[in-house]
Symmetry: C2
Subunit: 274 residues, 2 copies
């Protein structure tokens, strides 16, 4: 693991690392915010999964999580959204290939060689973080858009590994959306039965989430038809899932939206991790 940059931020340190990834078969980059409390001992971790087209950098620079993580004593990990590099299959579309890993393990050629973001997050990067950074084995997970999809699907499928869960404008029902069907078909093939474990709504319907779940969604989001928050709200209500879907008036899909509610989400996780 090589240190790429290190900036003081809110009394802590905003670091960026790169490392060879066995899982993805390429070099991967991630960012880690370490709050001042981490100088005195290990702290809980909040994982933030980013959306389509993003790298580790977008939320690190625009999300505003450091201020609140510093206050509450959480580390924040910002992974990349896909494998990267000249040798990694890509696509001209912004929503397939590099920048669009969808937090799954591809099973089809030509994607299956590198596109293993599910294992990367759940296993490899988790081990790297726990072995190299001053963190406790207490993990919260959140994310935006494709990353909100990743957060919910990964947490529900690995409920013993995560202690708190939230999402910003998640792709909530990808098996029914053009943000989902195209990618699930490309990465997993046309047998839709293999898609269900990558759909937050279907997973919550089957398994629920062990804790309570916070979801924020802007009512002015330009992608509401693709995100399908109504599917998530419906299944949460039908299943009596503890938690809340908050429809935030007038907010769109941008980082101005994420930034506006970063404080609430960090507090949500801190209350459940500390």
């Amino acid at each position: 693991m090589e240190l790429v940059s290190d900036n003081r931020s809110f009394g802590g340190r905003q670091k960026v690392f790169k490392h060879p990834s066995n899982t993805c078969g390429c070099e991967m980059t991630f960012a880690a915010y370490l709050p001042p409390q981490a100088e005195r001992g290990p702290v809980p971790v909040l994982w933030y999964l980013s959306g389509l087209t993003c790298t580790h950098e977008n939320a690190m620079t625009k999300g505003g999580f450091q201020e609140h993580a510093s206050e509450h004593g959480l580390a924040v990990i910002f992974p990349d959204t896909s494998p990267r590099g000249a040798g990694v299959k890509d696509d001209e579309a912004y929503d397939l290939g590099q920048g669009a890993g969808f937090y799954l393990n591809a099973t089809r050629n030509p994607w299956k060689t590198h596109y293993r973001m599910y294992d990367y997050i759940v296993s490899e990067l988790r081990s790297i973080v726990m072995d190299n950074l001053p963190v406790q084995d207490k993990h919260g997970i959140t994310g935006h858009s494709m990353g909100g999809h990743g957060a919910i699907t990964i947490a529900v499928r690995n409920a013993t590994l995560f202690d708190s869960l939230s999402a910003f404008a998640p792709i909530a029902n990808p098996t029914k959306s053009d943000w989902g069907r195209k990618q699930l078909s490309a990465y997993l093939g046309d047998d839709e039965s293999s898609w269900a474990e990558h759909d937050a709504t279907l997973l919550l319907e089957e398994h629920g989430w062990k804790g309570d779940l916070l979801v924020d969604q802007g009512s002015g989001d330009q992608f509401l038809d693709l995100l399908k928050p109504e599917a998530l709200a419906d299944v949460m209500a039908r299943r009596r899932q503890p938690g809340q879907v908050r429809m935030q008036e007038g907010y769109d899909h941008s980082y101005f939206f994420v930034n506006s509610f970063a404080r609430d989400h960090v507090r949500w996780h801190a209350a459940r991790l500390n």
Copy 2:
């Protein structure tokens, strides 16, 4: 004035506008954050001047001012740092020409046609903001690096127009620095007597500032030799200038530094403007 974008942010609106500038002879872009309080009536304005290579966008997306401006009911204006466009003289260096207007009116060819950022900020953009946005005639000013230089020099020379003043890592003594001598020579010519009114240290020595002055500087700033905070600290102490220069341990010159102290600066201005 044309609306370029409009995003909901912390209950208010983050807008970007472009407009033809008579002063700069080109189209100019600026960002304006309007807090929720602006829907009920005019609010005071905080001007944020950016540093070398920046546009209106850097501080708007990375500074984190919106959260605190929303809490305290301030509008925040983020101007660009120079004239722009294909017809505007530029230079290959990052610290001269486009992105490096230094908040002065150039008097030499080929710069003097467009490089009039002093008049643009003090007069033209001020009028545009006051005529078109729900703001009071109460103005604070701050900025980072070249923008900190701009904030102090503009406020001290126009003490009747500004009611509060602060700076992040300002270029404090440009007549003695390679961030200054090169640009002042290019834009104003070799007669150094014309440079003094663009040097924060020399201006404070001669005029002082009517109020108190907050300056934050990172002790780990990679540009300390060019910024010369010691010159500013020295003249403030000798002149018994109310205010403070805070040396913040380990912070560098990045927006992680600005973001870390944005709250303090917004509070500083709000306490003096409200």
